[in-house]
Homo-oligomer: 218 residues x 2
Amino acid sequence: VTTVDFYFDYVSPYAYFAWLRIGELCAARGALLRAHPVLFAALLDHWGQRGPAEVPPRRAWVFRDGARYAARHGVPLAWPAAHPFNPLLALRLSLPGPEQHRVIAAIYRAGWARGGDLGSPETLRGALDDAGLDGASRLAAAATPEAKQALRDETDAAIGRGVFGVPTMIAGDELFWGNDRLDDLAAHLDGQDPLDPHREQLREVMARPRAADRRVVR
Amino acid sequence: VTTVDFYFDYVSPYAYFAWLRIGELCAARGALLRAHPVLFAALLDHWGQRGPAEVPPRRAWVFRDGARYAARHGVPLAWPAAHPFNPLLALRLSLPGPEQHRVIAAIYRAGWARGGDLGSPETLRGALDDAGLDGASRLAAAATPEAKQALRDETDAAIGRGVFGVPTMIAGDELFWGNDRLDDLAAHLDGQDPLDPHREQLREVMARPRAADRRVVR
């Protein structure tokens, strides 16, 4: 059975959009979906990148682009009440375990579809309770040192696999970055990856010299 | 007449792909295409971002993703002989002026379609000569202080309009980032931008508070 690892953080609208498609995309191909909450801010720190919300015109772009995608695809999009927000509790609630996919769906719905504050424990508990997922006990479990460590471990494991953004999907060893690339993931799972005939040429190209590197000035 | 401003740097494969479509896309809609060479590295410096080539797994992703796009769309893609390369001379050759679009097409073909070194003056002169564009006199003009200043001015003007990456297309005041968004640009030019009914809601959403900001640690 092919496994698809799905790396996400609730701060990203693109991860939300991808979540709405990834389950059916995998199920239709008999692929096993494994969801991995990761702290996007830690990925950015690790790779020395700024996030979209940290570059003003890029933040404005993401809002426009997300709204355009939602309108075009009929996706409910209210945006979380504040953005960016602290996603740590929401992520710890979403670690692998019983009913994980239902938990993630409930949290996404509360924030991105309905405009709740995903940094708020009350919002998160309510979202889980509404879905019959016992918010109180899950919030207690998410506050333990074990849950905190598990999220750090998920994030470190993602970095170890070369994840630099969200959403990222990894099928076998093939990494796909971005909601825009779900169709490429589907083609890959279908054995119709247009890259396959070009992998040898690509290895040769990537082994060529770098002729210029920017002096990083900040 | 609607004007479409196209911001590009030769280092980006996505700007190459967009260049191959943007001329016809604009012409079919009676829009005036204005091409603006900009130094991507200076955009990155200004906004404090790292470029794709500076994050190893993201660099590998861009190569795979670009090869996949080219294979899917039948686009010739040999990659320039070295990458990244110093694009300054190629950009200065591509400033607004007589035959600008033919110059750009010739340089793209030499590097991205045929694998030439776009950091090499000889390659650039040959590419222009082959297209009947008098490489020698154009290279002389590109070496003047005026040309150097003109490229700086183009780059500063792009930053002033909120350009943070390449390719960027601006139609009127509407900014589109990325080759993936040419279809959105086309819809916008056609008066069918799915964002239009949502602009008021978006203004409200963007005015909401930020609830968390990452301490930038490097």
